[in-house]
Symmetry: D3
Subunit: 158 residues, 6 copies
């Protein structure tokens, strides 16, 4: 898919939050190529990953590790770890919709997360970088067909 | 865009949650046509709307009214009103990421919401209907450029 | 106790929520017979049970299992499982009074729960069925005499 | 209804929490007489009242005022005001089931509250007094038939 | 440091809350002597302690045990245990700043707590005693340098 | 008070969080001079202020305005506004101890806040700047003597 085709599809550029959300939601869908192309051309650092449990410690650790291993953040900088940590917590609280404290009783067969770091086009002066974390998947009882979709998104300056 | 073109674009069918999320996120983007086509062909009832304030009463009222006016729910049935009410609350709690109680101090220049009602393909026995509500927009101080994106999604049986 | 006696005692019929609450609170008290009679005559499905720990997973599992084993809900229907799940979560959040997240440090020597399913007399058009879950018991430190009473009630359409 | 009849009905004494809950729930039901008799004989101070709105300030104020006017608490003692304040907040959080922050969008056509102060029979050494607050009523949209029951209970040492 | 020196340093007496906060925050700092002197002269009962984990059960148990062992409260009185329990919960919720439910993923290398019991000078009629609990320390990832300070304070009548 | 006197008083340097907390708590106490001297010598930017209401919008606005007017943050930078906003929200949630949503019913006769920006000595590589916000005051009913102390602290990278 060349640049022209992408333009034709996307019309206008997506802001960083939409790019993060679409990266997590589209997964293996064909449209994801256009999202990744826009991310690459826009100079964003990004990655996607999966985590198989709703255990809060594991979800946070999996996202944080993916961010470090893919050079989205500098794992030796507490500022960057602090920034992504709060973005992850926001995303998980968003997924939990007020009952996140019951995480123990929720199971999931597959949570996909995306992490995107870069400029926020709409911000004043286009200053500095921001980081977005999106978590999408199904939440429910540990039984096939007894779960439904949920999404969470967190955002922070970095 | 004919059926074939949609197939080429979408590859596989999206589940009801993704359709709801993409409807709110894509907005005027060209891809929305494919989403609407899939919704129509899948027998879903759906609508999108906008609300200009983060005032909780107004957001809930705007979404509920849109659902009634577009025949997504039967406004004379308390069961249906109860079902969408909890889906809306979930979506707003999800947008708020744990600080929704500070709604008073958050402003927004535009919140887009989508409502989708229909079958959940993944559920056991494909029984009954479900309703999804997605809210997407920017949240922040009442000053241009001092806001960032947020998304919330709620889901319920109806 | 015949119909007349019940009438004399109850004066008027209780709505579904009161029936659920009284079933959990009255326990072995003589008045419970009148409540059960009213539930039976009103065509409600109901059960009561006990769970000995404030461990959230166990409380949810115990109530859900009791609902399935007593044919209050159809365990093969995700819609019904989803409906009771949210009613249970509401009841537990209600018991927790804002500190439910500290469930780990709360112990209980006996939590009684009731589940009632049926018509809601006050609802418009008397349409469809609803499910109520009430949890009543003592919460406190794991030491006799260092606990006090608490109650929670959740309600949903089914 | 004489003492004997009460004994026959109640069988055993209810603890302070049950008395508070039953006082709010039974309302005009005949059984309430037996509850009030047990409260009087047990040396409890108690009252019931009603408040027509879910506005948090008004609910708290109505309960606090009723407690003062009926000599349940000494309005000139900050300790007693502090004790009932936290019991009221617990009761309201319990009613709200995790969404109390949306109080603005909830309406009610009638909330009944009960306040009971006295000994807790189960506590070690039967020392000191405790206060219970129960709130029972219907919560929902401001439209007849579009609401359902809810209950909350708070408890504190005084 | 004699009484005069303290007066010169402190100027005016601190209220009970400030004394509790300063006791936890100052730790080994020289000023602590003046705080302890003021506490002793004011007839307060107090203690400080440390707990090495953010595990909620352990933090609550450590503070409660310290209060009993140092005769701040009477461990045989449920009223006193109930009073300090709620003060501890308030302090921990305050430390958690809305994400306390994620306690599982927070680690700490050292949490200092203080407990102070005595008169509240500002209260009407100077009646009865109150108890303050302050928790101060660093919260973060289990890695040196990846944590920052946090403080929590709870208060109750006793 | 010369450098030597400060050393004698403070013994060791306080970290940024303690400085922020002590600035808000000490207020007009003589020790504050030593805190301000340490802040100045450490190259911190700081300010203190007061706000007379527990109205959330006004508290957030007062702290944010003070930060801008005293050049603690650059009001034209969304990153800096975003950083202090989350620190303020954390401080207020910390003050509220789980009942901040009832802000409407809480009154205060005086909330003192401090804002400190600068290096965090304990962080890895001593990189970048951080911002701390502390809120200290009395919370209670709008009646003299019917309130008690509370404190909240928020912290963020900037």
């Amino acid at each position: 898919m060349d640049k022209k085709a992408v333009d034709k599809h996307s019309g206008a550029d997506f802001p960083i939050g939409k790019l993060t959300i679409l990266l997590a939601v589209l997964q293996e869908h064909e449209w994801r190529k256009a999202i990744e192309q826009q991310l690459t051309e826009g100079g964003y650092r990004f990655t996607i990953g999966r985590v198989g449990a709703m255990d809060l410690i594991k979800v946070v650790a999996a996202i944080e590790t993916a961010a470090k291993n893919n050079q989205i953040i500098d794992g030796e900088s507490y500022r960057e770890v602090h920034a992504i940590y709060h973005a992850i917590i926001e995303a998980i609280q968003s997924v939990g919709r007020g009952v996140v404290q019951f995480g123990d009783i929720l199971r999931t067969v597959g949570l996909t997360f995306s992490i995107v770091r870069g400029k926020m086009s709409g911000a004043v002066n286009h200053e500095g970088e921001w980081i977005g974390v999106c978590v999408y998947g199904t939440i429910g009882a540990p039984k096939k067909g007894f779960e439904h979709e949920a999404i969470g998104f967190g955002f922070n300056h970095i």
